[in-house]
Structures are given as C-alpha cells and as structure tokens.
C-alpha cells in the first residue's frame, strides 16, 4: 500500500506529510502532524468537532482526503491564538463559561470565527443556524451563542 506525499500549509507553516489513501485530513492532522486540537466525534460530517478552514472555507476535515490537500492552506484551532494573545472568541468563551468538557470547543471556535469574519453582525438565529453543524452535548448552546453574539458586538465596536 503506497502513501501519497503531500505538501501543504497549516496555520501558516509549510508542512509535508505522507497520507494513506484511506486517511482523511482529520487523520493526517492528528496522526501525522500531531495537531490533536482538531477532534473526531463521528467521522461522518455530522458533528463538526473536526472543523477546520480549507482555503478559507469552513469544512469538516473528516470529509476531506489527506491526499487531496496538496498546495492547499489549512487553518486549525492551533492557529487561532496569536502567541499569548487569545482570539476575542477564545477569551469570551472563557469569560462566559461557554464550554464544559471542551471537546466540541475547537470545532465551534473555528466555525464561530468564520461566522464573524463573514457576518460581523449576525442575529441570534443566523448564529444558531451557522453553528448548527457543531454538536455540543454539554452546554445546551446557550452560553456559546451568548459568547459569539457578544464577541461580535465587541469586535464591531472595537
């Protein structure tokens, strides 16, 4: 069984890795690049725990083949903070206790960041539908949505 040699960019860094044809981008991020922040919840695109940005699009990394990301640019949760400076969303999630077990949190943060970059002034309904692909079983979504809405307001005001 042969593996494909792939060169891509992850969080701004050039990376190279070998991918089995069966491996998804999620597998490759976790098992080949040791970036374990992106999580597997279902590996079928139904829970969003594996959310990453692929060439500027929010995707489930479990639905992308490892072999197909040659020359592509990938952003994961590990790239969200800038050095010691947390992204406003990350800080707000902490302030509002918008996480409990924390397992869905990376995927939700990646998705919420994408939401606010595309729509800086979402309504509650827009935020809920944008994040509908990110399952959370612990929080009931309440504090997550509050954190996203209030971060949006802050980022607009700042």
């Amino acid at each position: 069984m042969s593996r494909y040699h792939v060169s891509a960019t992850v969080n701004g860094d050039d990376v190279e890795f070998l991918s089995e044809p069966e491996q998804t981008l999620l597998d490759v991020l976790r098992d080949e690049l040791q970036l374990t922040g992106t999580k597997e919840g279902c590996a079928s695109g139904d829970c969003g725990a594996c959310s990453v940005m692929l060439d500027g699009r929010l995707v489930c990394s479990c639905l992308v083949m490892g072999a197909e990301v040659g020359s592509r640019s990938i952003e994961t949760i590990e790239g969200m903070a800038e050095g010691e400076q947390l992204h406003p969303l990350q800080q707000k999630f902490l302030d509002y206790a918008a996480l409990q077990c924390g397992y869905c949190t990376p995927g939700i943060l990646v998705a919420a960041k994408d939401l606010l970059e595309r729509n800086p002034d979402p309504t509650e309904t827009e935020a809920r539908f944008y994040l509908a692909g990110n399952l959370c079983r612990c929080t009931g979504y309440d504090k997550i949505i509050r954190a996203v809405m209030d971060t949006a307001a802050e980022m607009r005001g700042a």
């Binding site: 695109g45 479990c62 639905l63 992308v64 692909g133």
Partner: protein
C-alpha cells in the same frame, strides 16, 4: 485504493474509462467519504475532479446559466445573479447539511449519489435543468430527471462524468422554491421535499408549472398531475388544495427510520402547498 487528481476533463474520463475495478468520482466528498468510512464501498480508484477548471465555473451563457458540477454550495451561494434568478435551486442546494458540508458539497455529487432524498434535485428538475455529460464517446446533454435511476444508481455509462448543469432562462414572472420537512431544524435528511417552479401571465394566472417531489419514492418524482392542478389557475386556495392532494397521491414512500409511509404521504401534500405559495410570491414579484 488509488487517488488521482487530473487537470482536464479528458484525463478524468480516460482514468474512469480505463479502470477495471470500482471507480468513484470525488467532488466534495460529503457522501463518498462517509461511504468509505462506513465500508459501504471500497473503490480501486478515486478520481478527484476539483482541479478541472470547467467543473468549478459558474457562467452566464446566452440562454441560461451553466454551473460546473463541482461548484460548492458555499461558492454558488455567493453568486448574486444566480441567487436572484434561481432562489429555489439555491435554497435547495444550501439546505444540504451544515455550513461545513456546504463548504464542500456540490450539485454534481448530490445528483450522482442518487439518494431519493437529495435536496438539490427536486428544485433542479422543477427548473427544467439539464446536465452535460462527458464520456469516452464524447459529450451529451440530458434532463436532470434522467440521471438517477434507482437509489445509489445513475444512468451514466462507464467512464462518463457529469460536468455541468444548465439552467435555461425562464420567462418573466417565473418563480421557483424548495421546501422540505425534517424533524429538527437542520442536519437531517429530507423526510419529504418539494421543488416547484411556476410561471404566471400578466393576469396572475399560472401558465406553466413543474412539481418535483423528493424522498417519497425510489427517485425524485416529476408529477404532471400536481402541475396540472396549478396550470390555468390563479394558484388560489382551491388550486393549492388540489395540488396538495395530487402530491400526496403521487407519493409512494417507504417506512424507514426517518418517517412512516402515512406520515410522508400526508406531509408531502402540506409541503407541496407551502412550496407553491413561496414560488407564487416569487413569480408575482418578478
């Protein structure tokens, strides 16, 4: 399993035609990768078509819109002109899955996966869309409704590939819409779906209609009796009632984990009526 990412249509066709084993086309992967994971299929060759420019392009032609088969929902959603002319087709496409799925899902994949519940298909059929197919014997164009022939099966021959969708320009005062019923508000496969496109004359009378019903049979149904219920009427409550009955009557669903037969038959009528109302509003304001 081998993975190939050709740059041209011809190369893709060659790969698919010359492989003896099981082949699969990879566009967005939102069905294929799920099937690979579930071990429902073990392809010998996966052909990734996303590097083929023509499959990723949306272009206004003289008599309609051509949308590449590998254009994603997210990309098409950003196309203001397409959205203005075919809001029903777009809303159907955009109902497929989550934001993440939209970042990858394509109409080509949605159609060729041939699920009876595919969201984009009823709306495309209602819009009289056709597909361009390229194969070892050249190109051909067929109506969308002739592609899926059974759950999981298309009419495409070996080596053939859907390359684009064509949406012919519609007369003025045409409106299209797609609605579906799902138990949650998102993330479900359609339990029933209706794609309706109708045209009104200046007096507000319906002169043409196409009604396509999804998830209530082995394939999407193009129901002429349902269209006839609207044609020649002002699409008032009486006509909508007849539409509803015709839709329920045409539905031949199964019982499964997503809904019972009786439920689908009844709700098909409800959804068809609601869809027609949206299409009517859009047609009236066009």
């Amino acid at each position: 399993m081998r993975y190939e990412a050709p740059d041209t249509m011809e190369a893709a066709v060659d790969l698919l035609a010359n492989e003896d084993g099981i082949t699969r086309v990879l566009a967005g992967g939102t069905d294929l990768l799920v099937q690979l994971r579930a071990e429902m299929v073990e392809p010998d060759l996966v052909v990734d078509v996303k590097r083929i420019e023509a499959m990723r392009t949306v272009a206004k032609e003289s008599d309609g819109f051509r949308v590449g088969a590998a254009v994603t929902g997210a990309e098409l959603g950003e196309h203001a002109e397409f959205k203005a002319i075919w809001p029903g087709v777009l809303e159907a496409f955009e109902l497929i899955g989550s934001t993440q799925v939209q970042g990858r899902a394509t109409m080509g994949g949605n159609l060729c996966n041939a699920s009876p519940a595919a969201d984009s298909v009823p709306a495309m059929i209602a819009a009289s869309a056709s597909v361009a197919i390229q194969g070892p014997d050249g190109q051909r164009e067929i109506p969308v409704e002739d592609v899926a022939i059974a759950p999981g099966q298309t009419s495409l021959g070996k080596g053939e590939l859907v390359t684009s969708f064509f949406f012919p320009d519609a007369p003025p005062r045409t409106g299209d819409a797609y609605l579906r019923f799902i138990p949650r508000t998102e993330m479900d496969i359609a339990v029933v779906g209706a794609g309706i496109c109708l045209t009104l004359d200046d007096a507000g009378i319906c002169t043409a209609a196409r009604v396509a019903l999804g998830a209530v049979a082995a394939q999407v149904l193009l129901v002429s009796e349902a269209a006839d219920a609207l044609i020649g009427t002002p699409v008032d409550d009486a006509a909508l009632g007849k539409l509803s009955e015709a839709a329920s009557a045409a539905a031949k669903p199964i019982d499964d984990k997503r809904g019972t037969k009786e439920f689908r038959i009844q709700v098909m009528g409800v959804i068809a009526r609601r869809t027609a109302k949206v299409a009517l509003t859009r047609a009236s304001s066009n």
